[in-house]
Amino acid sequence: MSKVRVLVGTRKGAFILTSDGKRENWEVSGPHFAGWEMYHLKGSPVDPNRIYASQSSGWSGQVIQRSSDGGKTWETPGGGVTTGPGGFPQGESNKFAYDASPDSGKPLTTHQWYDGTQHPWEFKRVWHLEPSLTDPDTVYAGVEDAALFRSTNGGQTWDELSGLRGHGTGPKWQPGAGGMCLHTIILDPSNAGRIYIAISAAGAFRSDDGGKSWKPINRGLRSQFIPDPDAEVGHCVHHVAMNPKRPNVLFMQKHWDVMRSDDAGDSWHEVSGNLPTDFGFVVDIHAHEPETVYVVPIKSDSEHYVHEGKLRVFRSRSGGNEWEPLTKGLPQSNCYVNVLRDAMAVDSLDKCGVYFGTTGGQVYASADAGDSWNPIVRDLPAVLSVEVQTLP
């Protein structure tokens, strides 16, 4: 029987939740990396026992962890007591140095600061790790301040794909309330060269040559908080989702507005429809029904909790515009949690499972595509990310 493994990153450690295909009884493992902020964990689709994790703290900075046994044990890649060429210690798995070399032609630039002045890029943390679809040793990292890095040796060393940060619009990018983070990385399974990324607050970008060159894909987005609401960049995109079976169709939760693209991001149109509020962070898509989309509306950009004190997932079965609230098993009064941008995931079992975590420390699971929900755990630290692996 198939199994599922849910990887949960929280403000104070990581947790791994496992169940059989019924998804009724769960084993909870953790906290792993107790006390550290775990922004994201994700498994390789090629080798599910290979899991990458982003571990960070305001004191000690960034650490990358890697497991080769499904999260039972962890190592800092290359972090053992080894010596490299010239007698220098290895272990640079946490070294994210922006490419400022003249050779790249992309010297370190500045971006827009909160007050409108220009500010130098400063590495802070890894928000998202996206393992390659074909090679377990290749993994992409989206970082704050916004840039895309790639490792091809299992996370031991990282190189910036500097064509993104240096393609020209970088000086117009600005941090959102959570920082200037590259939080979404989507690899197109039908086109090895195509990568989508999204940045708060810059927008969405696409590469068609494996990350060498990039272009903004924000036509159709409107944001009132920038001088030109239809600008090419500067939009606070919170998350983007793609169903691998239909890779040219993207759904986006923007700061305000739920958006849809049917042409690989070249243009977007709003599908917020009858949502009670279209502010939010997460968006995800049913594994088998590409027109079934999930969002969790949040009250507003100044009140980051669910609308009317009710924790409701909204599902559209028509690709947007018509949304139904899913409430069975979720608190419908006095609830004031948020669901952050990387904190929703779907499994690929026949009856699609949907999972999300809250800032109140609950992780909810639905084994029936959202019709009903049960908490797997109720009292974790604030949940930053949720990913799920469907295992044979």
């Binding site: 990396f33 107790a34 006390g35 550290w36 703290s57 305001g58 004191w59 000690s60 900075g61 960034q62 650490v63 800092t76 290359g78 972090g79 053992g80 007591v81 080894t82 010596t83 210690p89 290895q90 272990g91 640079e92 798995s93 946490n94 070294k95 140095a97």
Partner: protein
């Protein structure tokens, strides 16, 4: 033998308990102690000093012999009591928030 005390999170990361003891060749300074620490525990690179600039991370402090050495030059000699192992060199996470 130089004694170094790490904050709990870095002890966990380095998979050590209690103090770390290091052999340091040449003058005993913040830089040489941290170089020796990172050579023995490479996973600590970047967690105390910035990878690129080699400057102390903002929320890390260095104490020894009841003195705050955080703002001393990284190449200044450490106190004799640290050099001869009577006192540890302390790497401390600065208190931020309460």
């Amino acid at each position: 033998m130089i004694r170094v005390q790490l904050p709990q999170h870095l002890r966990t990361l380095a998979k050590v308990q209690g103090e770390v003891q290091l052999e340091v060749e040449g003058p005993v300074t913040q830089r040489s102690v941290l170089d020796a620490l990172e050579a023995n525990y490479p996973m600590l690179k970047g967690t105390i000093r910035d990878h690129v600039t080699q400057q102390r991370r903002a929320f890390m402090r260095f104490f020894a012999c009841e003195e705050d050495l955080s703002l001393e030059s990284p190449d200044s000699p450490l106190p004799d009591a640290v050099v001869n192992g009577k006192e540890p060199f302390l790497v401390i996470g600065a208190i931020a928030g309460g």
